[in-house]
Symmetry: C2
Subunit: 211 residues, 2 copies
Amino acid sequence: MHVFDPGGDRFFMVLSAGNLATTQALVHRLRSDIMRKDQRDSLATVDYMFDAAEYVGRTSRKIQNRYEQINEGNEGRFDARFIIGGQIRGQDPQLYLIYPEGNIIEVPDATPFLQIGENKYGKPILDRIIDTDTSLEDAARCALLSLDSTMRSNVAVGPPVELSIYPAGSFELAHRLSYEVDSPLYAEVHRSWSDTLRGGIHALPRFDWEP
Amino acid sequence: MHVFDPGGDRFFMVLSAGNLATTQALVHRLRSDIMRKDQRDSLATVDYMFDAAEYVGRTSRKIQNRYEQINEGNEGRFDARFIIGGQIRGQDPQLYLIYPEGNIIEVPDATPFLQIGENKYGKPILDRIIDTDTSLEDAARCALLSLDSTMRSNVAVGPPVELSIYPAGSFELAHRLSYEVDSPLYAEVHRSWSDTLRGGIHALPRFDWEP
C-alpha cells in the first residue's frame, strides 16, 4: 500500500499484486517522476485520475518490456496488476484497476469494489454485501472478511492485512491500519464471522425429508 | 452427475468439469466397458475404489491423447477433471479427484470435500463449515451455498444445481435433486443466507473510532 501525496490538491494510493520486482520498480519510478520537475508525466502533473491510471499503466508496461527484452520467451513472467485510488481537487474520487498490459478499467457502479491478486476466494462476500450505500466502516469490515476467507482457502496468502480509509474530499487518509492474525480486532472479526456462518447454516431451510 | 450401478456390491457416481466432448466420451466409455464382459478393466470389475479412480484417470488420458494427436499444438485443450465417489461392499466409501493428467488424489481428512470446475468462489464456505462431524444434510446445504456464491460471482456458471446424497453402506442414492434459481428450497437458501450475512456484518466488532 503506497501513498503518494504530491501536493495539497491531490492524493493517491497505489496497491500492487504480481511480480515484486516490477511493482517495486514502478513505485520507485512514480516517486522519482514526482521529484523531477522537468518530467512531463507524473502524479504531480496529471489533470485527471484517468490520466494518472493510464500513466501508471504505461510506466508498468515499460518496466515489464525492459525485462522481457532481456529474457526472451518469458513474456508474462514480469506481470503485475495495480489499483490506483485517489482524488484531484474539483473532481470526484476515483478507483482504477491497471492490467499487466497497461490498460485500465474503472470501478463498476453496480459492484463498487476492485480486487487484484488472489481475488476469487474473497469475492463472494464483497458481491453479497458491498453496494453504493455501504458505509466506509462496513466496507472495511467486509474487506477484512474477504482477506480472511482468502488466507483460509490459500495458505500462500498471509498477513499482515493492510487497511486504509479515505473519506472523499479529505486529501489525506483518515485511517491506516495493519493487522496480524492475532491482532485483537482482526481475531474478533474472524471469531464473530465463524459464529455467524455456523448459526446461519442452522437457520437454512430443511429438506422435506428432515424432521 | 452420472450414476454407475453395475451390480449390488458396488455403487459409483462421477462428476465432471472441463471439455464437454471429453467428459461425454469418458462417460460413454465407462458405460460400454461395463457391458463388455471381456473387458479387463471396468467399474464392474475393479477391486477397490482407488482402482476405479485410476481406471477413470487412464481412460480420460486416452481420450485426451487421441484428440491431441490429431490437433498438434493443442495440448491441454481437451482437459477435463472428474470426481468419483462410491463404495465397494466390505470397504469404506471413498471420494477421489482425477486430474486431466490422469493422476488422482483422495479426499483430505482435514477438509473432507473435493471440488472441480470454477472452484475458488465457493471454497471459503466449505473451508469454514465442513468437517467430519458435519451431517449429510448440513453438508448438502453448504454445497448449495457454495454453488450459489459461485453463480453470483461468475455469471458464466448457471443452474441447474444438481445434488445427490449417498449414505454409507446403502449402495443407492438416498436423494437426487435438481434446482433452478427459483426452486422454492433453493430460493429460500439464497434468501436466508443473504439475511445471515447482512446480519453478520452488523455483528462484527466496531473500529475504535466508531461510536
